[in-house]
Symmetry: C2
Subunit: 158 residues, 2 copies
Amino acid sequence: MNYIEGMKLIDILDATDIPVAYRISFLTNFWREPLLRRMERDTGLIRPELTVLICLSFRDNLYARDICEITEQPSNTVSRAVTSLVGKACITRTRDTVDTRRQVLNITEAGRAIHDDLMDGFSRSEARMLQSLTADERETLILLLDKVARDVNRWRGE
Amino acid sequence: MNYIEGMKLIDILDATDIPVAYRISFLTNFWREPLLRRMERDTGLIRPELTVLICLSFRDNLYARDICEITEQPSNTVSRAVTSLVGKACITRTRDTVDTRRQVLNITEAGRAIHDDLMDGFSRSEARMLQSLTADERETLILLLDKVARDVNRWRGE
DNA sequence: GCAATATAGTTCCATATGGAACAATAAAGG
DNA sequence: CCTTTATTGTTCCATATGGAACTATATTGC
């Protein structure tokens, strides 16, 4: 019907001047975004809430400020997520006795269950996405991405 | 000062169950997002507008509907971007004579200049990000990401 | 100890963006 | 033809999210 029927974003992959960035953006747009949208729809959790859950699943007794620094998210975003997660009984928030500005955050059992469930789904989804790679290729991909990611302090910010 | 001072999102890289997705998200959050935010600040262009510009830099005479299909963005988002870009004289929009519902879109010289400029900046930024990889490693990374991206129709949607 | 400064967290506001309903037009079916 | 259905693009609305101002508390310098 349409004379450009064949064209897809895929076709730009070959021609772009930013091959890596374009592919990463592609996977973000077509894989991560739909997955997160489904999470939002199914669980009512939004992205910053997931971020906070992930941080607290790795570390106990964090302050909101810590999470801001770890994730480099603005403090209002983290604040909102924390308040919402407390309301959902996914985390606890208790005022610090020594510095009463601060509030100690911890994940609850319910919160961890939700977190683990989500991660499980993501993990299966990732496995599905990577099915066309061999185990070696997957390992190489992770290694290369790792190299770039760990170099963040050199390339970040200007 | 803070007893978790060392912890960063980086530390989760080792432990996560979704190693590829996590690294891709990491690069998206720490590289693409700041870059796009700077673009928004510097040029006044927003993301869907960039998307439309990219499509029209690759193909002439597209309809908004085509761009929706190519990018899988909702029609209202594309519609807004198109209207805005027309206002900025970056693209032209002329009603199709045979189907008056449709409007033929084309990039202008000014639009192409802006597009090329942006891509140039992105390209230099990507080069900087990938500096720690050898040429071979870069090639491998692109190849592997490509393999996954081109497999989109298998893993997409559930 | 007190004033000046820094920090934690919140609230206010502006905006980007997706979903759904809608208007205008075209295509299909009898 | 005329009705029914499909399609294009827009508008309306709800919400996610970042920037900046603000409050409360703590720290620093004198």
